[in-house]
Amino acid sequence: MFIYSYVSTEGTVKKVNQDALMIKNARFKGKEILFAAVCDGIGGLYGGEDASSCVIKTVSDWFETVYADLLKKGKGILDVRASLDERLHMVNDAINIECAKGREMGTTFTSMLIDTSNDAMLAAHAGDTRLYKIYDDSIEIVTSDHSVVAEEVRRGLLSEESARFDKRQNQITNCIGAGETGRMYDFIIQKPEKNCVYMLCSDGFRKMISGEEIQKTLSPASNPDQETLNKSLSYLLDLNMERRENDNITALAVILKGE
């Protein structure tokens, strides 16, 4: 079984929440399945909001129909990945049609599919939303940020320390929509883990709080049940608000429990 919780707010300054999130769970032949996603929209005058909700609806539909068929046909996780990739490119093309009409529309996307029937965790990712794995003594970022700053760190042009202070935190190099074509999205396939808390979040959730604060608050030992998980996420949200995060703030945490 899964325990999950989430928080989302427009933040201290913005009046529109361009973030969107989704959690769905299912059971197939007695095996637990959970699909969760977080999007952070880009673009003024509802463009970002529309893009993020459009992507959420599309992948939600994919989960209910296409993915269900794949499971019934006994397809493995690589086929599931290819199918989700195809769907993400389809929605990318659909949003780009709107962009061609002059609307600024795009969104980051990070999703996590825990498919115990295939014994796999599949993360899909574009942009600077993140998937974390939080353990009792450590924290791991599963995704790589598609951002100018992260790219410069990889190129050796910026140190990790300088990157934290860089003003270009809001510049991303990959997303769904925004008129971009020929992009590749990241997919990470791992074994599902029961000794960690999976956490998806928009960049607004993590800029004002440290990895250490996230790890201490969301460690599996501190979150044995739904109630504590709710409180922990709310606490981190409040911390962000206290520190005046002016971006939209969204986070979603999932724990895989049981045998």
Binding site: Y6, T12, K72, S144, H146, R154, F165, D166, D238
Partner: protein, 487 residues
């Protein structure tokens, strides 16, 4: 230099994983307990470092918790963009104004970069205030402190040379050589005025009334009461509806209120060599005299030659010269006329192209997409003034070629893939290549001579190729790698 040391003994103390800066104050000094009480208020946390006062038989101690903070003198050694630098200056201005409005003596504010701190998480400056009754001696003068900060900040990447020049001129007004002859004594508000006059960091140099409003705002509650609704659909799937935070859509015109305007000028002129001069405020004065916003040091250009102004998003030029201002044609002399993007203005015979740049106002705080053809290093760079050029990074710091993809080894080491096909047959025994399909480019890995190649749990035999994807795992001769594409 170390004025503080002359009057207070202080030391750094490490206790329970925390770092404290402890000032020992002689018994003759009297702690101002009404100020201590006032400074305990949460509203001061944004400006003044929290402290504790301890009284012993022989001495009074004031301990400042500086755990996790970076001394400003250290922070200034790092490379930073001009905007970051002015955020620091603006932060200092806010603290000074805050103290002034709170009737805290500026003499007790420690203005020394070693004891001013940068909060890495909040990304702001915090200062020490010594709550003693006897003022007079603690601080450097604020202009001196600002000058020291300016001289210490060697790693500024200048993005607006004109603005930096103006700031340097502003500081120069308070130099000791000028003091005797001028009436320019420093007042805390003059820095705020500088920011406001130059129309930069407008949002940064907010006044105290606004700051107090923000403090109130922090105390508001933000109830989060979202609920996932469960429902049953399809193949034994319990599906909650996709969640969208229930936020009312504001009127379109109110959306702009949430946007912090970009510091970058939207309007600029360019000379025939391509040098760009941002128009940061209106009226924008052009002429030979040094006080003009654009100085053209030519004898045929009048001291006050012309003025560019703005009204409701429209731009106008007014000629004030003897030899004339001409628009788009050397014979078209104008006295006052509207100008538009792309117009060529001749100040006497010196042509400048007037440009209006469209800036998406959501971009500076919201997330923006950077397409590959507009990488920052390829973007147009503003022309730097001679004063600004000293801050330019060394040629070695100029970004090198970007990798198309990486192989990240499990120990974190990165192998950069600069082009496809990537032939590593000699070392790793693999080739990574691309093939274009009708709609997209696919990437493949081929086992050329690798003893053991595993792609996502599937063994890749000699000569075989698999289509791979960004983020996939490859185990090459028992060493795990993650392959990812840099879009």
């Amino acid at each position: 230099m170390n004025q503080i040391k002359n009057f207070f003994a202080f030391k750094t103390v490490y206790s329970q994983n925390k770092t404290f800066l402890v000032f020992s104050i002689g018994r003759k000094e009297e702690i101002n307990y009404s100020q201590v009480q006032m400074l305990e208020n949460e509203a001061y946390r944004d400006y003044i470092l929290p402290f504790q006062c301890t009284k012993t038989a022989s001495t009074n101690k004031i301990s400042f918790d500086v755990s996790g903070l970076t001394s400003l003198s250290e922070y200034l050694k790092t490379e930073m963009r001009q905007e970051q630098y002015f955020e620091i200056i603006s932060g200092i201005q806010k603290i000074i104004s805050f103290c002034q409005k709170s009737y805290l003596s500026l003499d007790n504010l420690v203005c020394d970069t070693k004891y001013m701190y940068y909060h890495n998480t909040l990304k702001k400056i915090l200062m020490l205030y010594i709550p003693v009754k006897n003022p007079h001696y603690i601080r450097d003068s604020i202009p001196d402190c600002l000058k020291k900060i300016h001289n210490s900040a060697k790693g500024i990447i200048i993005t607006d040379g004109n603005y930096m020049n103006k700031y340097e001129s502003y500081l120069e007004r308070f130099s000791s050589s000028n003091k005797k002859n001028s009436t320019n004594s420093f007042s805390p508000d003059s820095l705020l005025h500088f920011f406001n006059e130059n129309n930069v960091s407008k949002n940064e140099s907010i006044n105290n009334e606004q700051q107090f409003k923000e403090t109130d705002f922090r105390q508001r509650e933000f109830p989060i009461s979202h609920q996932v609704i469960s429902g049953e659909k399809g193949f034994d799937i319990h599906i909650p509806e996709p969640y969208k935070p229930p936020v009312e859509k504001p009127q379109k015109n109110t959306f702009s209120e949430t946007i912090i305007k970009s510091n970058k000028s939207k309007v600029f002129v360019t000379d025939r060599c391509g040098n760009r001069f941002d128009i940061l405020h209106f009226p924008f004065k052009v002429g030979r005299n040094n006080y003009n916003d654009l100085v053209i040091s030519e004898g045929t250009v009048s001291g006050d030659h012309a003025v560019i102004s703005e009204n409701n998003g429209r731009y106008f030029i007014k000629d004030e010269s003897s030899n004339g201002t001409y628009l788009n044609d050397a014979n078209n002399r104008i006295s006052y006329t509207e100008i538009q993007n792309g117009d060529i203005i001749y100040f006497e015979s010196f042509p400048f192209v007037f440009s209006v740049e469209k800036i998406n106002e959501t971009s500076s705080t919201g997330t923006v997409m950077i397409s590959r053809r507009r990488q920052p290093e390829l973007a147009d760079k503003p022309t730097l003034s001679s004063a600004a050029q000293r801050y330019q990074p060394e040629p070695s710091a100029i970004p090198d070629q970007k990798a198309l993809a990486y192989l990240r080894r499990e120990d974190g080491a990165l192998i950069r893939i600069m082009n496809f096909p990537y032939n590593e047959s000699a070392d790793l025994g693999i080739t990574i290549y691309t093939e274009s399909t009708s709609s997209r480019t696919a990437i493949f890995v081929k086992n050329v001579s690798c003893n053991s190649l595993v792609f996502e749990n599937s063994v890749v035999e000699y000569g075989a190729a698999y289509e791979i994807f960004s983020g996939c795992s490859l185990i090459i001769n028992s060493v795990k790698y993650t392959f990812f594409v840099e879009n």
